[in-house]
Amino acid sequence: MSLLKKVFLVDLFQGLWVTFRNQHPKHLVTEQYPAERPMVAERYRGAPRLNINPENGETLCIACNLCALACPETLIVVTSERNEQTKRKELTTFTYDTSRCMFCGLCEDACPVDALELTQDFELASYTREGQIWDRQMLEEGPRPTPYKC
């Protein structure tokens, strides 16, 4: 570095000029969460949901247990009952422990009928450990976070 450049602090002003340029309002990138809701991607792997048929309100789940077998943390428990009239397995309970879930998506990949899905909901906090264990009703309805008021 030449002496003149050193004396006139050229290197420092060069850096300061970068910081100054970046002060322009068009460079603002901060998201004002929770006042401003972030748009997550379509494929986002968030809260699990057990899909129901919109026409008759029946569950799409065929109780095949593949998701429970695919899960690395074995946090899904599916129970079913055999319907004597139709000779088919029918879902009775479905429990999903979100506190141990790492949202890897393996259960979703395993599901043959697209009944289990990881959705775009990402606010999963609850006040108790038990609140993290979702039953069938919770999975079908989805989480209901308290809306933020300014």
Partner: protein, 371 residues
Amino acid sequence: MTPDATFLDSTELVLNMGPQHPSTHGVLRVILKLDGEKVLGTDCVLGYLHRGVEKIAENRTWAQFNPYVDRMDYVAAISNGLGYCLAVEKLLNLEVPGRAQAVRVILTELNRIGSHLLWLGTHALDIGAITPVFYCFREREATLNIFEKYCGARLTTHAFRVGGLQYETYEGFEKEVNEFCDMFLPKVDEYEELLTGNRIWIGRLKDVGILTGEECKEYGVTGPVLRAAGVKWDLRKAQPYSGYEKYEFDIPTCQNGDTYDRYMVRMQEMRQSVRIIRQAVASIPEGPIMGKAPKVIKPPVGEAYVSIEAPKGELGYYVVSDGSTQPYRVRVRPPSFINLQALDRMIAGGLVADVVAIIGTLDIVLGEVDR
């Protein structure tokens, strides 16, 4: 009164740094032996983040273990996933389709940029420059958005599967990646404007923590640290995997092997990554994204060692199969763990303030050190 010789002698001071110290990048604990400001020796205490990843592997199926590897080097989760998938594919003797390979390269290189950006931001913060961390995170966000759109997760991505890919690229993937490249190169120049010529930056980094090429080999140090010492070695060139032989890029090297050189090497590497991404995006072949992987992965009895050039150095997986659906043993060769071993040699004779600079320049992630 004659000056007492023992009075002038200083006693050795033992100082504990970490595990809750912001500049140890996680939960590293270093016990420093000091003579005044000078560091006489160090002793690293590890294991605060030990989760037994290798034991977990033995209790999962081959496919189920895949998401866990993301949680080692969580800054470069995609690299970890690539290494593991390549290792299992080697055991299965499986060919991955060209399209999957190209997408894998694009995502891993984006991840390398993200990892280097996080390193740059935190390293500069350690040294005392606050601004770069904001800029680096701003650009890293762009890479994370691409990951999120591609596979649905930002950090622990679980992007690849054994045999290829689970997800097809989304609409506008190529365009978005190209836009990122165009946007990113001027930003690297901007970081360099902030730091490269800055007298404080140079003063704190030049001739600090020198590690020569010979010492690097002795300690098994790889990655940018090795290249900064003048050894032109990169696994992507030496033993290409996932189609890296198709792309043209240089291996940036420096000569002195000090902290400043390691900074320069990583800055150049980000530019080279952009070069690779551009070529890969321009030539993504059409075709299937999944190879002939069996539904239930059951590799034949045997073992393989496969390693890749992760952002931190050589990341290796030594996998042993006993012919069942579960791994018999998965050994991870973590670059951070082995690079950290050289800390003692790099610090010897330095000052306390340099400890932070040297830990920063090694670019360790404690999730990977402790596994």
